[in-house]
Each structure stands twice: as C-alpha cells, then as structure tokens.
Amino acid sequence: MSTAATANLLPEFERVSASLPGDARVAERRRAALARFAASGFPSQRDEAWRYTSTAGLARRKHSVAIDTPVNLARGRAALAAAGAWDGPQCVFVDGSHRPDLSNAVAAAGLRIRPFAAAVAEDGRIGERFAGWGGEELSPMISLNAAFAADGVVIDVADGAEHGEPLRLLFVMTADVRDRAVFPRVIVRAGQRSSLAVVEQYVGESAADGFTNTVTQIHAGEGARVTHYRLQDESPKAYHVGNLIVSQERASEVVSHSLSFGALLARQDIHIMLSGPESSVTLNGLYMAEGRQHVDHHTRIDHFEPTTRSEEYYKGILGGHGRGVFNGKVVVHQHAIKTDAQQSNKNLLLSNDAEVDTKPELEIYADDVKCAHGATVGQLDEDALFYLRSRGLDESAARALLTYAFAGDILGRLGIARLQKELAARIAGRLPGAAEFLEAV
C-alpha cells in the first residue's frame, strides 16, 4: 500500500490544534478524526466515488490552516460587496472566521443562532455531536473537516417556530494568505413542525486560491420544513469540497438547492436519509463549468421508511474545457415500501473540449415502489437555433437564449424571487450574447 496522501495537513494540525475551539474531549475527537483521514488520505480515483474527480491538486498543495493569522477585513469587505446585497439576516465569515461586525443575524423567537466556535466552547456536547453525528464513514473529507472545523454556525429552531425569512451564511475567501484551507461547519437542528430557510453562499476574491472543505448537517424533526440553498461561486482558482448531510424524521420536508458556478475544482456530496415515514426531499441543482473548471455532484438518497418520496432535478452546462460529473444514487431499503423516487440529470455540452460523466444509480430492495431516473447528454437543438435565427437573433444571442432557457426550470424552483433574479444575471453573465435578451427577462 502506498502511503495515503495527506499533503502537509498532519503537521498543520499539530501547529494549530491548540487554537481550535473546544475542550479536551473535543480535542480528542478531533485527533481521532484526523487519524481516520490520515489512514485513507485524500480519495484517489480508484475509489468509485472519486472515479472522475482527481484530488491530486489538493494532495500536492502546501495547505495553510491560518486560523491564527488576523483577518484582513478590508479585503473581506471588498469581496463581500461583490457577493450582492442582502437585506435580510445574515452571518458573514471571512477566511473561515465569523465576523459579528459584518453580520446582522438577529435572534428571533424560537430561533437560536450561535457561531460554531462559541457554541463548541460553551457546550462540549455540540462538539461531541458534530464529531459523532457527522457520518464520517461517508467521506474522508468529513473526517478532515471534523479535525479542523474552527468556525461556522449552529442554528436551533424550536418546535413549532416558523421562520419564513431566509438566513444567509456568507463565506468570503480573500487572497490574503496563499493556499489557505478553511473548514466551516454548519449545524441546523429544526424542531418539530418548525420551518427554516438557509442560504449558504461561498464567494472569493478573484485571486483567492483557497481550499474550502465544508460540512453542513441538517436534522429535520417531525413535520419540519427546511429549505437549504448552496450557492458556490468561489474564485476560479479555488478548491471547494462540500458535504451536506440531512436526516429527516416523520413527515418532514427538505428542499436542497445546489448551484455551482465557481472554483477550479468543486465537489459537492449530498447525503439524504429519509428516516421517518412520509418524509420527502427535493434536490434541485445546476452546475456550470468553463475554462478548466471541474464540477462534481454526488447525491445519495436513502429511503429507509415506507411512503417516503424523493425528487431530483439536476442540470449541467459545460463549456470550454469544463468537465461536469454527476452521480445520483437512490437506495430503497427493504422496509421502504410505497417509495416514490424520481430523478433526472440533463447535460448540455457547449464546446468541443467539454466533458460530462453522469451516473444515475438505483438500488432497490423492496418491490412495491415506483422509481425512475433519466439522464441525457446533448447539445443545443439545431432546429430551435434555426428558428431563433429566422426571427432575427444573431447566432450568439440565439445560443445564449436557448442555454438560459435550459437552466430555466432549475431557477424557477428556487422560490426566492431576488435570488432567482440574481442567479439569472449570473448565468447570463457567462453566456456571450445574453445581454441582448436579458433586458426582457
């Protein structure tokens, strides 16, 4: 066996471990998590789950877990402005650290929002929880996060509390330190019949080449409704690896939106556990890659209980030398009769050097179920292009319009109008020729 690739993360851990939040027991758990990561290292392409995505770039880097370096606030503010205005409540993190001075998350009745570092410091049990509950068996990247998680946010929603206004968690990466590595951890615990919407947004200065390894855990109590947005728009030099772990109780409803535009290498894993009868989940996703970008989504939905429902819609737009990877797995366990699972993945290739690898998987151990999936790969329809040209649009505008329309249904499911508008502009911004028609949108 070759030695596992861990780059310089083991010595980095020794250097910073004393500064990581939590008591001795948390420290112990961190060390155990690091040992697990060290045993497997960064996943290799021999691992089925990483078959199409190489972590060689990550394994080669000299990571800098610079939690002891003061945050360069001026640069943070500049990057923040680029992220778009937000008039609702938000928590802002610059280079991995929570910035109360930039945040305005007001605690409402039944809603408790705590920075992760503070929450762990005051309650070691959260630390226990985050290390024990995190499903480290799912990915060595989760162990890596468990070892280093320095900040983030812990959100508790009381039973029956409803919060319609979305809360934004904005993670800003600056180019202040080279090869910076940050490990945010977000924990959401939604009580019975509560509701909450969280927007996780990742942005960075254009020169920021950091590595973000984030883990979000959501627990939806009985009848809870949680909507989670993940907008990944880091700099084109950044590395971004995210894990979303969701466990759902009876009759809970979770909607996850994942939109990926940025980073040189972006990998998002979504693990959904439908652990209560009648629980349901909708996964909605859009990924775009251009230049040398590589974007990978892995989703896994486990139907553990009867009458659970899942729907999944993912679309990819790949241009330049961009490469898109999609792996959607639905597992229906023996007990989970009357499951209804639908999944679709559609990909649009815009250039000769773009590539897509898709793998929709079904694993079914129960007979009374309805499951279907579909996957397509293609280019823009020549007839539709011709029609638009005949109506006076030039080639690039016609292409842009059709590409934009391809992404339309994913945007349409977002539910937050201003977000929809912002992202429409973001997509159009990447399509030459889109300016012509976007006025009308």
């Binding site: 793998k359 079914i364 007979d367 309805k370 499951c371 279907a372 397509t376």
Partner: protein
C-alpha cells in the same frame, strides 16, 4: 390481490428441469493451476508454440491481477487451485467423424436436453457445434457451410487447420490482460467455437452451439471467436444448460467478435445453467467476457441475451464502435430468482463518427434474487454525431428481491446525443385485475405481462430461440401468483 408469499415460494421451489448427470469417463487433469498445467493443456491439444507462449503470457498477467470486487454480487472466494483445468471425454482421442462415432451417452444427454441433432439437421437447418465439457464432439452441416466458404469448427480444429486466422484475431478484441477472468480464460481455455465468414458471404444458416458443463469440479473455459469479413452476415446462437450439482462450478468464457466493413453479426444467447437450490447452494458462476468490435465502416454487432440460469452472472457483452457509421445493439432479459445474483449489462464505446448504439435491458427479480444492470456508454472525443439510447426496466416480484441500475455515461464530444431511462416497478395490480376480469387465470396473466415486458427483447431473437425463451420464462414464473 397481492402476490402472496406462497406463490413466490411455489415459483422458488420450481425444480430445475435439466438436472441430470451423464456418466462419461473423463480425461481430467489434477486440480490446480500452474505453468505445467498450461503446458499440459497445450500439448494435449497439440498446439503450436506461439499459442503456448500466448497462454503462458496470459497466465503471468493473471497472477498479477485480483478478482474484481466491484460487481453487486456476493460469493465465497473461489479457490482457483481446487479446480481442474482440463477434462475431455475419452472418445475424443480418435476424433468422431460422424454422429455414429459419438459416444451414445453423449447423444442421450442431448436427447434429454431436447437437442435432437439429426432432427435439427433436417427440420431446422441449424448446424450445431455441440460442446460437451470443453471438447467439441459433433459438428454438422460442415459441407454445406464449406460450400459457402464459411469456416465453422471447434476452436482446437481451427488452431490446427487455420492457425493464421486464429493468430491474427485471437485476443484482438479482448486482450489477454483485459480483466481477471479473461486472463484466466486466455491461459487455460479448453475449446470453443471458431467461425469465419468470408467477404460478401451471407451465412446460409443460423450457427448454433450448445454448451454443457458436466464433470463436477471442472471449470469450463470456452473461447469463441467470430470474424465476419467485409459485407458478410452471420447469426450465431448460443444456448446452454447444466446438470444439477451441489458444487459451484466456475465458467469463465471469452467471446470475441470482429465485424469488418459492412459486415453484420447477430449473437443470441439463451442461458439456463443450473442456478443453485432454494438456499443458494450450488449453481454455476458465470463470469463471462463478451466483446465485439465493429472494425469496419457501416458494420453492425447485435447482442441479444436471455439470462435465466446461473447462481451468479457477471457478464457485459460490449461493442467497440471503431468504424464510422457502425452500430451496436444490446437486448437483454435477465431473470433472477431464489438466491440468484446477476450483474449484467453492456458497454458501448463510440470511437468512429456517426456511430449509434441501442441498449434495451429488462431485469426481472423474484424470490431473493438480486438483479443489477451495469452499463457504460462512452463517447470519445472523435466520435462526432454519436447517438445512444438506453432503456433499463426492472420488474420486481416479491418483497425480498432487489433491482439495481448502475449506468455510466461518459461524453467527450458535444455533438453526441445520449439518452438514458430507467424505471423500476412491480407487476401492476391493475393489469392483473384487467386480465382476470377477461377470464384469464392469474398465472397466465402474469406470464402474459412478463412476456409483454420482455417483448422488445424477444422480438430480436431468432424464431427458435424466441420460442425457447418464452417457454423458459413461463416455466420460471409458474405459480408466481395464484
């Protein structure tokens, strides 16, 4: 109206109809595998030096490989040193020249299996190259085929009589080191079929080989090579049954097809080997590598398979579409029942321009059967205007079975159009109810629905096979509902 547990049990307890053993003296090598065994096989078969070297090369590659573990199947590790790698019926030495010289016991076996060779000669016009435990013992219609210039003989004969053809094409589609089982087969293959269709010839009849595993503890390592020259056409049928045994038997065959310009190969399989008993004891391990290459322009390879037997099936008949405008097709029905496990599918590798492929896969799971479709559609960078359509449907009968789909789609060319669809469901109660209301028994109704489910595949089978396949499914589904 639900399918009751009793009915499923009735289905499970359905005996294996082809279970009997013919006692024929076998010339069997001692168990174990090393270079000496390979030399023994090679010398027994009087093979040229280059073929021995080729086998030894494959063996050395095999030693470096590990058995694949990615398939969605479970079994005890196989002890490759406990298997005997050579077994030939005694009568082989002199070589039978006609059916009269064939050991009557063998002929009896074929009778029991319902393959009356002579009747078939006359009635069906099918030439049968029957393989009984690794060595071909009877070949018919040789003259008629020879007239057309078609070479159809056992692999060993081809090695003796057409070494230049064998040497040119052997391993050219499935390289010796392709995978663990292919390497093993390349090292120890005993016999099989060889078929060569010369330029412009449409093979005058459907070619058929019946395989049969007999002696216990002898793995069977068949090697089939079919070469269709420019503008030729051949339809090849392969069917198999095996007698009941309580010992797991390994079968690791390799089939290679080569289609040159404008050639067309149609390869049909009905596989009904012993699936093991209700508890999953015994049964054949069917680890097969089948691959065809559309080497020339406008060539076409079509795989049709009906897989109802074997304890474990690990099989991915594939098409490498090298020639421009070439076409690959894969039609499959796989049925798993009791403790049977199947991990089967196809690979379509698009390399040439305007290449097309179609995949229709129907999986039926009953009892505790686990049925997986695993497929790869790969469009390489130069494969302009490649087109693929894939449809995988699974039918579940009973609460303890499983149906799985693992399709891989890799596209590196923007002009490609690739579509994949998969559904999983159980037999609809509405359909059953409708049939019942029209006076059709539940059993017939289920049969009808399942046959309807598989229709797209059955219609691709040659007539004789289609009948056999429908009968097979019917037998397997008897008593599935009451």
């Amino acid at each position: 109206m639900a399918t009751s547990a009793n009915d499923v049990e009735a289905l499970i307890s359905k005996g294996y109809k082809a279970g009997f053993i013919t006692e024929v003296e076998s010339d069997t090598a001692p168990p174990g595998l090393n270079e000496d065994v390979i030399r023994l096989i090679s010398s027994k078969k009087n093979e040229p030096e280059w073929l021995l070297e080729w086998r030894l090369g494959a063996f050395r590659q095999w030693l470096k490989k590990e058995a694949p573990r990615w398939a969605h199947v479970r079994h005890q590790p196989i002890d490759y040193q406990a298997i005997s790698y050579y077994s030939a019926p005694k009568s082989r030495k002199d070589g039978p020249k006609s059916l009269d010289e064939v050991d009557p016991k063998l002929l009896e076996t074929y009778e029991k299996l319902g393959i009356p060779l002579r009747e078939r000669e006359i009635l069906a016009g099918v030439a049968v190259d029957a393989v009984f435990d690794s060595v071909s013992v009877a070949t018919t219609f040789r003259e008629k085929l020879a007239e057309a210039g078609v070479i159809f003989c056992s692999f060993s004969e081809a090695v003796q009589n057409h070494p230049e053809l064998v040497r040119k094409y052997l391993g050219s589609v499935v390289p010796v080191a392709d995978n663990f089982y292919a390497a093993l087969n390349s090292a120890v293959f005993s016999d099989g079929s060889f078929c060569y269709i010369p330029k412009g010839v449409r093979c005058p009849m459907e070619l058929s080989t019946y395989f049969r595993i007999n002696a216990a503890k002898t793995g069977q390592f068949e090697r089939t090579l079919i070469v269709a020259e420019e503008g030729s056409y051949v339809s090849y049928l392969e069917g198999c049954t095996a007698p009941m045994r309580d010992e797991n038997q390994l079968h690791a065959a390799v089939v290679e097809l080569v289609a040159m310009k404008d050639a067309r190969i149609k390869y049909s399989t009905v596989q009904n080997w012993y699936p093991g008993d209700e508890e999953g004891r015994g049964g054949i391990y069917n680890f097969v590598t089948k691959r065809g290459e559309c080497r020339g322009e406008n060539s076409q390879i079509s795989w049709t398979q009906v897989e109802t037997g074997s304890a474990i099936t690990w099989k991915y008949p594939s098409c490498v579409l090298t020639g421009d405008n070439s076409t690959g097709e894969f039609y499959s029905v796989a049925l798993t029942n009791n403790c049977q496990q199947a991990d089967t599918g196809t690979k379509m590798i698009h390399i040439g321009r305007n290449t097309r492929s179609t995949i229709i896969s129907k999986g039926i799971s009953a009892g505790r059967g686990q049925n997986a479709y695993r497929g790869l559609v790969k469009v390489t960078k130069g494969a302009d205007n490649a087109r693929n359509y894939t449809q995988c449907d699974s039918l579940l009968i009973g609460p303890k079975c499983g149906a799985h789909t693992f399709p891989y789609i890799e596209v590196k060319n923007p002009t490609a159009r690739v579509e994949h669809e998969a559904t999983t469901s159980k037999v609809s109660e509405d359909q059953l109810f409708y049939c019942r209301s029209r006076g059709i028994s539940r059993e017939d109704a289920l049969n009808m629905i399942v046959n309807g489910f598989c229709r797209e595949v059955f219609k691709e089978l040659p007539m004789e096979f289609a009948v056999e396949a429908q009968k097979l499914l019917g037998v397997s589904l008897e008593g599935a509902v009451g």
